[in-house]
């Protein structure tokens, strides 16, 4: 195999990486490679080992097996946006001092990073007076200011309300893009993953369950577990196959081939989320307001979804 000489250089790689916490395997057999300019999003449910993997990649936690190779300096923005008791600008300059940046360069670099995250107007404010969203922005600016070769971000949007998160997500997406830097972002919200990822890595129970471009993974999840984690919450058993669907795949249609009973109706901002019971499975969809009532029978159709072979023990016959 020959290597493309124009390909961006590999800045971080892990092979057969295993990490333990309190004697328990939390990350198992992880292989990954990260190149300059790439933005990898690490997605997984709570307790999947995302933060542990990040700590190990950063060198803050020792591997129990396998190895991590780093080319260049790695900076980590931890989940908790704790700031020192000083001004916003001084907090960023402090991080630059930790990083070893000469004193004369600290103030201009701090200003640039704060401007990238849209908080340069807060430079002289005491960090203690910032709101949650502002703290997150300063926290990110602090990590960007050091200009690492590899930037690792642990849930950078955690604990924010929906509006603040959406605003920060929009600003951070452009601020985080750099051709020279490789970035790994840990998230547990799928919407954040779709917004940021060049490549998605799904971690389930400490192992890499799927990796690839987000759209590709969404269209072709490799396993049923990954599909369910990516939001395929509907399930129909059809012979020796199980059809998994997302709400977008299911629509109410008076001429549709399937008959279902509405067992639950949950109002949303822009519609009603329906839980539909069928003879051979359960589906979910979002219907326009007001939508059918609980207990009502509706006809529907399914467009799309993914099929997996049903385990023998759970197969049922299809009644139609």
């Amino acid at each position: 195999m020959t290597r493309d000489p124009d390909a961006p250089s590999t800045l971080l790689s892990a092979s057969a990486l295993c990490v333990q916490r309190d004697g328990r395997d939390v990350v198992r057999d992880v292989d990954l490679e990260l190149r300059a300019g790439e933005m990898l999003v690490l997605l997984g449910p709570n307790g999947a080992g995302k933060s542990t993997l990040l700590d190990a990649l950063a060198g803050m936690l020792a591997a129990s097996r396998g190895r991590v190779q780093r080319s260049g300096r790695v900076a980590v923005a931890l989940q908790s946006p704790d700031l020192a008791r000083r001004s916003v600008a001084q907090n960023v300059e402090l991080a630059l001092a930790w990083w070893g940046v000469p004193r004369s360069q600290r103030a201009p670099r701090a200003r640039t990073a704060l401007a990238e995250l849209g908080v340069d107007h807060l430079s002289d404010r005491a960090a203690a007076t910032l709101s949650g969203g502002e703290r997150r922005r300063v926290h990110l600016a602090r990590a960007l200011a050091v200009r690492p070769d590899v930037l690792l971000l642990d849930e950078p949007f955690a604990g924010l309300d929906a509006v603040t998160r959406a605003e920060l997500l929009g600003d951070a997406e452009s601020a985080l893009r750099s051709a020279a830097r490789a970035t790994i972002i840990v998230v547990h919200d799928r919407a954040e993953a779709w917004a940021l990822a060049d490549r998605l890595l799904v971690l389930l129970d400490g192992r890499i369950a799927a990796t690839g471009p987000p759209r590709e993974l969404l269209e072709h999840p490799p396993t049923e577990a990954v599909a369910r984690f990516l939001g395929f919450d509907g399930s129909l058993t059809e012979g020796d196959e199980t059809l998994l669907t997302r709400p977008a795949h299911v629509s109410l249609d008076a001429e549709g081939p399937l008959l279902a009973l509405v067992v639950r109706s949950i109002p949303l901002e822009d519609g009603v989320r329906l839980e539909l019971q069928l003879d051979h499975g359960r589906l979910f969809t979002v219907a326009p307001i007001p939508g059918p009532r609980t207990g009502e029978r509706v006809r529907l159709r399914v467009d799309g979804g993914v099929r997996f072979r049903t385990p023998l023990s759970t197969r049922t016959s299809v009644s139609g």
Partner: protein
């Protein structure tokens, strides 16, 4: 009740007239307190930081010993030290018994655990996330310690003030190690004790008032340093 009044009156007179006896006692007291607090801080701050922030075997034992040291009986320490300082004892060659240096050593040993235990407690209250973030952005031990010292400044200054207070007002170890020798190693506190023993209560009160004034002056100066900047923070926070 007239002892109190006489003591107060004599105290004011002694201060106003610059009595050489009081001036000498005050000077010795300041020297003992300043040197012992400085040395205890110099040695105790790093150890307190290591115990508060470090993760190493024996850390809990160190913290326990530091906390136990807060209740170290001065008389016991003075007794052990004076026995060790006898001419034939292990520290005899240092010729510290019944000297000002011996008193400074005793006071330093009393102040040391105060600085260690209170500093460790203060830096442990610094948000763990901030310390971890500093390390994650490349901060070495020196940077982390400076960050923790600054973040825990109020608590760390309280440790230094407590050490100074101990050095100013302690008598048990001073008397046992120094011998309470007037003009040599007698401090305001040990002089007050001597006056009480002699039945000179008004004189003892007068010395006590000078000592209290000195404590107020020094603690006040350190409190100004301790609280610098904290009022502004509270004011800024209040509207939110």
């Amino acid at each position: 009740m007239h002892f109190l009044w006489d003591g107060l009156r004599q105290g004011v007179q002694l201060i106003l007239h610059g009595n050489s006896y009081i001036v000498q006692l005050t000077w010795v007291t300041i020297r003992v307190a300043a040197i012992s607090t400085a040395v205890a801080s110099l040695l105790g701050l790093p150890l307190g930081l290591a115990l508060g922030l470090g993760r190493f075997r024996g850390r809990r034992v160190g913290l326990t010993l530091g906390n136990a040291g807060l209740a170290l009986p001065p008389v016991m320490l003075g007794l052990v030290l004076s026995l060790l300082m006898f001419p034939q004892a292990p520290l005899g060659g240092l010729h510290l018994l019944f000297t000002l240096n011996g008193v400074i050593v005793a006071q330093t040993l009393l102040a040391f655990p105060i600085v260690v235990a209170l500093t460790a407690a203060a830096v442990q209250a610094v948000p763990a996330g901030l310390i971890a973030q500093a390390r994650a952005l490349g901060a070495g031990t020196r940077h982390v310690w400076l960050l923790a010292l600054r973040e825990a400044r109020v608590g760390v200054m309280a440790a230094v003030i407590a050490a100074l207070g101990s050095a100013l007002s302690e008598v048990g170890a001073v008397v046992l190690v120094g011998g309470n020798i007037e003009g040599s190693d007698q401090t305001l506190a040990s002089a007050a004790l001597e006056q009480v023993d002699a039945g000179h209560f008004a004189q003892a009160m007068a010395i006590g008032i000078v000592l209290l004034g000195l404590i107020l002056l020094l603690a006040g100066a350190l409190t100004v340093l301790q609280q610098r900047g904290t009022v502004a923070r509270v004011r800024v926070r209040a509207p939110s």
